[in-house]
Structures are given as structure tokens and as C-alpha cells.
Symmetry: C2
Subunit: 377 residues, 2 copies
């Protein structure tokens, strides 16, 4: 059965792609960065700020939401988009990754995974079928297959052992997703660790099954950037060019720029909000530590040329003070500033691909980061 396609490739510039993904809750411009709203909320941001920053789509974590408040409850409240008031496109992961990293007493079999909640020890089972059922209850525009992710470095045999059941789970997820209304999407997730041959096998296996889009999973889990980029280069030629490609859990601005240069369309990462809560600001001068005493008397904004009000309107001295004092507003401002930077980077990438100037944009952007912050004052 052919899987309907909701992705439109609008242009390319080298391997970089400009596209548009149409979901039941709206359109997504690609390359896209998806801010992570783990529990149905963006840490430190109002939803209006997420939207104003330019995000078209956000991510929710199935594992967290199935534990609290529960998928059936969210369904009764009208789905995740309505529950949160975001009312736009949402992608949910399958829960597999967090089961591996957070849950207790987990046991993986061919059937699925059983585990105990990290909150209250309650017992849960997550099978491919249940993972899809939960994501349908959440009303995710884009659901992800249940997969098993191996933390790198790992033995070849362990990576292989995780990859093969993931492909069988992919098939079961696809079957379970067949009743989803038109317009909703399911992405397969390629695994294979840092082993090129396994990466290719995994990607080919997914393509043979057929999905609305394809994710590259199990990367940005500790390996060097060149390994990650090499794995992308292995699988991209195998993936159909008319379908969206999503690099899960990535990453730094530089990771995204390099992955776009290799044909990736979608990203998600907690880094802008998590680092923001720890006093870090992403800017065109690179990542700045606002805790640093160099900012203490500095009346200048983070970046006076930014189009984002908070990046332009608050002094470094004030942000430094908020961060040093542990004031919530410091975390709020930096989370917002970082999400806005990530989105402006994506906007810049999209404009450059449209203009056929992606290579220049990439060089200029990297040069800005490499140059570092403006001199202290």
C-alpha cells in the first residue's frame, strides 16, 4: 500500500533542501527546528513566545505524557494541541528513548517493553501497538515508531541486536497506524549506531516498509560530530528524496547547519531551553555564558542587531544579574532568546536555500560563531 505524501520539496541548494510539510494542524516550513515541550509545556516559555519566535511545530514526549496526565485523559480533553493551547502541528516521540533513559526495572522482549514509572513506580507496558495508540490519543500530527536506542559507544553485536527488533516494531507500528485519519503521519526511525553497514541496512529496511517520513535515531548520544555526520551521509542516499528526514535529538546550531548541508529537514533538541536555564545564551557570536563576570557592568544587549526583542532590549548586566540571582526571569528570557535564535537560524537557512546561497550562509554563520563574543567593556 502506498503511503500518502504530505511533504513538498520546494527547492534544493547542494544537498540542502527547502520544503513544506502539511499536517492536520498546519504547515511546517523545512528545514525546521522543533522546540521540545516534554510534558505539554515549553520550560520557561509561553506558547505565544514559541509561536512568535517562528516555530511551526513542537515536540511532546510520549513517555512523560502517558505517565502524567495520561493519554486517555488528554484525548478526552481534545488532544495535545487543544490541551496545551498550542493548537499547531505536534510531533510526539514513541516513548522508547525515555523508557531506556528514565524508567525503572525495564524489560525488553520481542513483544515490547515493560517498565515502572520513575514518578511512582506504577507498572506500564509499551508495545508498538500501544505506542501508536497513545500517540493517536494524543492526536499527534506526526507519530514516531517505537524503537530501541543503544547508547554509544556500544558493541557491534549490541547495536545489531537492537536494530533488528526495531525494524519488526516498525512494521507493527505501521500496521497499527493504518486506521489513522488521512493527513496524520508516521515516521520510521533508523538505527545502527556508528556502524555504516547497519545504518544502511536499517534505512533500507524502513524504506521497504514505507513511511510518511524517516528519522535518523540513536545519534547525538555522545559520539563525535564527524561520526554523526558520517552516519547521515550513509543513510541519506537511501532515503526517498520526496519524504521528510528528521534527525532526532539534534542539536547544537552547528550540528543542524551541517546536517542541513547533508539533506536533513527536521530537528528537535532540549538544548536551547535547558542551556537557557543554566545561564547560556545562543547568539550569532556563539554560545555565551551569562554567568561570566565580564557581563556584570555591561549595558549592551546580547545582540543589538537581533530582530528578537528580548535579545535586543535587555542589557547583559541585567541578564547576568538575573542568572546570578537565580531569578526565574533569567531562565525565562534566555530560554526564549535561545528558541528565537534557533528559529532565526532556521529562517536564515531556509532563505539561503531559496536564494541558492546556502554555502555562503553556512560559512558566514560559522565564521560568526568562531569569532566569538564582542570584546568586554
Amino acid at each position: 500500500m502506498t503511503v500518502p505524501n504530505h511533504f513538498e520539496l520546494l527547492g534544493t541548494d547542494g544537498a540542502a533542501r527547502l520544503g513544506r510539510l502539511t499536517t492536520p494542524h498546519g504547515e511546517v516550513r523545512t528545514p525546521a527546528f522543533m522546540p521540545v515541550g516534554t510534558l505539554g509545556a515549553m520550560k520557561g516559555l509561553h506558547w505565544r513566545e514559541v509561536r512568535d519566535a517562528g516555530a511551526d511545530i513542537v515536540l511532546g514526549n510520549t513517555y512523560h505524557l502517558m505517565l502524567r496526565p495520561g493519554a486517555e485523559r488528554i484525548a478526552a480533553l481534545g488532544g495535545l494541541q487543544k490541551f496545551t493551547t498550542w493548537n499547531g502541528p505536534m510531533l510526539t516521540d514513541s516513548g522508547g528513548f525515555q523508557v531506556m533513559s528514565l524508567a525503572q526495572l525495564r524489560k525488553v522482549t520481542e513483544q515490547g517493553v515493560t517498565f515502572r514509572s520513575h514518578i511512582d513506580g506504577a507498572k506500564f507496558e509499551l508495545t508498538p501497538e500501544r505506542a501508536i495508540e497513545i500517540q493517536r490519543l494524543l492526536n499527534s500530527d506526526i507519530a514516531m515508531q517505537l524503537d530501541e536506542c543503544v547508547r554509544l559507544p556500544a558493541e557491534h553485536a549490541d547495536i545489531d541486536r537492537a536494530m533488528q527488533p526495531s525494524l519488526r516494531w516498525a512494521e507493527r507500528c505501521k500496521r497499527a497506524f493504518e486506521t489513522a485519519p488521512d493527513g496524520y503521519m508516521l515516521f520510521g526511525i533508523g538505527q545502527g549506531g556508528d556502524v555504516p553497514a547497519l545504518r544502511r541496512l536499517s534505512a533500507q529496511g524502513l524504506v521497504d516498509i514505507g513511511f510518511h517520513g524517516y528519522a535518523i535515531g540513536g545519534l547525538a548520544v555522545g559520539e563525535p560530530q564527524d561520526v554523526m555526520l558520517a552516519m547521515i551521509e550513509e543513510v541519506v542516499p537511501i532515503l526517498p528524496s520526496d519524504r521528510p528526514r528528521y534527525l532526532m535529538g539534534v542539536g547544537t546550531p552547528d550540528d543542524m547547519l551541517e546536517a542541513v548541508a547533508r539533506g536533513v529537514d527536521m530537528f528537535d533538541c532540549v538544548m536551547p531551553t535547558r542551556n537557557g536555564r543554566h545561564g547560556m545564551a545562543f547568539t550569532r557570536h556563539g554560545q555565551l555564558n551569562m554567568r561570566n563576570a565580564r557581563h556584570i557592568d555591561d549595558p549592551r544587549p546580547l545582540d543589538e542587531e537581533s530582530t528578537w526583542p528580548s535579545t535586543r532590549d535587555y542589557s547583559r548586566a541585567y541578564i547576568h544579574h538575573l542568572v546570578r540571582s537565580g531569578e526565574t526571569l533569567g531562565a525565562m528570557l534566555l530560554s526564549e532568546i535561545n528558541i528565537a535564535y534557533y528559529q532565526s537560524l532556521m529562517q536564515g537557512i531556509r532563505a539561503a536555500i531559496a536564494n541558492g546561497t546556502f554555502a555562503e550562509f553556512r560559512e558566514r554563520t560559522r565564521a560568526g560563531w568562531a569569532q566569538g563574543d564582542i570584546p568586554p567593556r
Copy 2:
């Protein structure tokens, strides 16, 4: 020397007063509630939300700001209004209250108070002259005299012992304030605990010295509401009717309503933001505990008739989920919702006084609180 008057009494309804206070950074409609931005930030709110909620003036804490980032530093950065980006009227307390409650190894003499910072143990001295100097450096529109506050219940002799030096400090503060530019204001602070005779003596002493406005201090520190209201009734007849009256650190919506009914014009309190961080919502149905399981499946907003978007647009189920999950957004939304409720209460009070319907407004508002929340669903 006559102290210039920047307060205009626009109308009265019984003892309740409608007024306008003109500061160097803008006008303040009274009765006014001043949200507390302890360290130059409102916990959980953006400054634009404070303004949108209807606040004309906010409060900063001298004790906190003198320790971090330091008064001289804020002066060099253009004053508290510019430093924070609030850019509107600001009142600062004198630091005395927090020295008593937070600082270590404090020693009070006729000269002033020495103490060690609760942050790093650094030694500081706060005299009446230094308290004024700091508040001038902060550029406060309204400075408060240094005073000594006694925690109730206390012995008559102890209350007296604190009140008498406070009056002498009031005089020294006034002298120190003489060089302030026109338009800036200094308020005296009446003490006297729960002893009517001492309250009257203190108020009369301040009026004899002469200030731009008069605060009633040392209340809402644990005494029953009727004691607080009785003390207000003791001092209000002594205070000049053409000057603003500020009840410090108060309070609940009901406290404010009752104090307005007795002629008070200004309030400040951390309650809306602090209780918001603990899952409490102030509404016209009273104070609601959003942690309560009754909200878990409730798709209704806190108050569908509210004019404040967040009070109307988020479901109780979502806010409950955020609070239970410890998501920052829960604290952010409830802090904002509570500040907006406090401001809407003040707006209602002002409109009622202007219309000569304050008594009805007071009854209707109290009846709403007494009726309690809408039935669970």
C-alpha cells in the same frame, strides 16, 4: 519647610479614596496594588505582563538590591527603571524589614544597623542616611524611611523601644532626602505594633516631621485581620487627607478591600506571585488550589468571564497538570493570573469609588469569594 505634594485626591466614597500620584516615571492610579519585584524582577512574569495586567507601579527591595547587584552598579546602569526595562514608577522599601528577617549577626544602634549578608556573609551598615543614598542611587520614585519593625505579638515596651528610634530615623531620612530632585518622594513609616496609643504617637510624630506620603508599617506580620484594621482606624484620622497612605506588605484581596474602605491608597504584597508558585489561583470565586484533584479532568477555564487571557484561555485540567508536574509554565501562568486578578480588583475598586458604589462593590466582591468555586465537574 513644606513638603511638595504630588498626590491628587480625585474623589471619595465613604472613607474610600480615589486618587492620582504623579511620579517622575509616570502616574499611579490609586487605590494601587504594587507587585513586588524583589531583585529587580517579578518572579515568573515578564515586565510586559506586569504592565498589561494594569500595574502602574512596582516595588523593589533595597536590602536585596544593595547586596546584589549593588546600588552603585544600578546607578551606573541608569537606575532601577532602566536596568530592569520596567521604565515606570518604582517604590523601594528601606531595607530595614529584610535586614530584620534575613540578614545575619545584625546589631541595631541609634546610629543604624550593621549586619552580614545572607548570601556571602559580607558586612554592611545601613544608616538612615545610607538607606536614602541607596534608594537615590536606585533612582526610586518613592523612597521609604529606614525603620525598625517588631514582629507581633510583642511586649508593649519592645514596641515602644522600636518606635521611638524609628521617629528619629525618620527625621534623619528626611534631612538626607532634601537634595533629591523635585518630583521624587519620601514616605515616613508609622509603627506602634498593635498598641493604639503608640500607633497614634508614631503617626503624629511623622506628620509633625512632614513627608510626601505616609506608610503604615509593621502590620500583616501575623496579627488577626481585625487588629490590623483597628490599627488603620487609629492612624488614618491623624494622617493628612491630601497625602497618600500606604499599607505595607498587605495583603489578601479581602485585606485590601477592607483597608481601602478605611482610607488606604496603596498596597504591596508577594502573595499573588508566591502563592502562584505554590499552585494557588486568586479568582472572583476566592483562592483556588489548582493542585486539587477536582480540576484534573476539568476543561473549563479558571474564570470564563475574566478579561485576562490566561485566566480564560487555559483549562483547569491543563493548569492542574502543569502544577502537579512542577512545570515552570504553571508557576508563570498562576503568577500572571494572580497579579492580573489583584490589578482587576484595584480597577474595580477605583471604578466603584468613582461611581459612588464602593459599598455595593465591596459586598458583591466579598459575596463572590464567600460563595467559593464553581461546582466540580
